[in-house]
């Protein structure tokens, strides 16, 4: 493949960032969190063959190129309320899948809503059978690390039986051949047997 400039380390303008534990504390000087001090290049670089802003040859910021980087840690924990959606999550522990129905227009929101956005009416809870049809899916080879999911994994959009809008969750245990995953195939909600860190993970989809 073509060289991908934003992944090519030789194209990086700046020294690779070291890990703080790899730096000898005595090399950090008086600053305990110092990562590096370096001289940065002019990011636009020497005058290019075509330059619409007629920048002078000289780097205008040359007196401001000595750069210090430090490490700065922050940890945040939330005490998060699931509010008016809570019943959905509470019932997942009872292996029940609930949606909401608008008493005025009758629309059933698979991802529940306390209030129907079309009518501004307070909705009623409605239990669904937990079966549905696969409408679209994506197979990911990559997932941001914080999500703690093994790849490849499948994100699925499902039309739940008895609902009018779709519901998003992972499709698991689809086997090894991804060509077997097809839109239109029947799927069902499966409930976990293991403890989870977020109640949304009490369920997922599997082929029905």
């Amino acid at each position: 493949m073509a060289k991908n400039v934003f992944q090519d380390p030789e194209k990086t303008l700046y020294p690779k960032l070291p890990k703080i534990e790899d730096i000898d504390p005595k090399d950090r000087g008086m600053v305990k969190t110092k990562l590096q001090v370096f001289t940065a290049d002019d990011p636009i670089g020497p005058k290019l063959s075509y330059n619409p802003i007629n920048r002078e040859d000289q780097d205008p910021w040359k007196d401001f190129r000595e750069i210090m980087r430090i490490e700065w840690n922050m940890e945040i924990t939330y005490r998060h309320s699931l509010g008016k959606y809570s019943k959905f999550f509470i019932e997942l522990e009872n292996k029940k899948f609930f949606a909401t129905e608008c008493p005025k227009c009758g629309f059933v929101w698979a991802i529940p809503r306390p209030v129907c956005p079309d009518c501004l009416e307070i909705c009623k809870w409605k239990e669904l059978p937990g079966t549905g049809t696969l409408v679209s899916f994506s197979v990911s080879e990559f997932v941001p690390g914080f999500m703690d999911v093994e790849t490849p994994y499948v994100l699925a959009m499902v039309k739940m039986d008895g609902a009018d809008s779709l519901f998003t969750h992972q499709l698991r245990n689809w086997g090894t051949e991804r060509t077997k995953i097809k839109t239109g195939m029947p799927v069902k909600v499966v409930y976990t047997k293991e403890p989870v860190i977020h109640p949304m993970l009490l369920m997922w989809y599997e082929p029905a």
Binding site: A2, V5, P52, I67
Partner: protein, 403 residues
Amino acid sequence: MSDRRVFVLGGGISKMAAERPDGNIRDWVVEAAMEAVKDAGVEIADIEHATTSYFSDHFDKQLKQGAIFHDCIGMCPKPNVRVEGGGGTGGLAIRNAYAYIKAGLCDSMIVYGSENMGRHVPSDVAQQFIALASDTDWEVQVAGFYIAYYALMMLSHMEKYGTKEEQFALASVKNHRNAMYNEYAQSPMKITVDDVMNSPLITSPYKILDNCLLSDGASCLIFATEEWAKTHSTSWYRKPRIELVGTGSGTDYMRLADRPFPYPGITHFRAKKFASEQAYKMAGIKNPAKELDCFEVHDAYSGVELVSCEDLRLCGYGQSGKLYEEGYFDIGGEIPINTSGGLIGMGHPVGATGINQGIEVLTQLREEAHPQRQVKLTNGQGGMDSHGGTGTYVAVNIFRRVD
């Protein structure tokens, strides 16, 4: 509506890069503002109002960042408002300038946008911050992230219209190529469809080269009424005059899953259709592909560009794939798209992106672009489409050269 007219006097961009530790976010805004003031031929002391455009407080661990940008460029004690709509932030900021000037709240406004997305946090943490822009209770927890949502949309487009992955790849090839003639661009590359197809798979059908970039950078635009410009801008009589003649905005349900069928379903951007129709109506445009000379489209991922072309009425539904093969959207084609390189080639520092798009249209309409990316002007009109979430917030703005 008042008969005040809103003109773009100038713009400035700081270099887009994956990482710019040579300065920080406030420094890039200063760089862009210095260029914009020079381009517009105005004094910062004369500008009456500011709009701040940035997306995330998390990336730079700084809330109320607009106040810092504002005081760094000597705008205190004059008014400043922040506008935020995810990836649509910059486009909404331009629309804000239009509204404030049109309403008479000010006669001139500086709009600056920036994002610090580089290596202040590891790319994994950056992904986490971006994921926080989708519904954190319902979609993030199931390992939903933006590339995957867009992949669901593209699969649906492929099934509905027979669009091919190679056709998506053509958008990436075009945008990387256009970026080669833009010295501010982050990722100029001469690549082929095969290079895109053979690059590592992220989320089917998306490969790494189909994606936009995490960027550091800033950009800035200056708007004013004609009367203000005549007395305060030395470039008013020297440069072609560019007017902001149409603006539209639209929204859609936060979660793809909630969107109504059959349209938009999970295939299309209803907000974009809604926003563009308003903007076209204001600008008196009936056939956008014929009447516009260039368009900066929000190409967060290659497929997003194709679908956007359809919802912006630059081509019919389901036709974009075939038209990419014909070069319809290339420079020299019927309606050149993303001449700057777009988000894929130029970069995507979220708060700056919409403003980058406005600057590219300004550059094109003034015929100041690199000859290899300059489009031929027939109507002297260009458009831009700025889009947040999976089309959750959209702003479309239309500019016209008035000689």
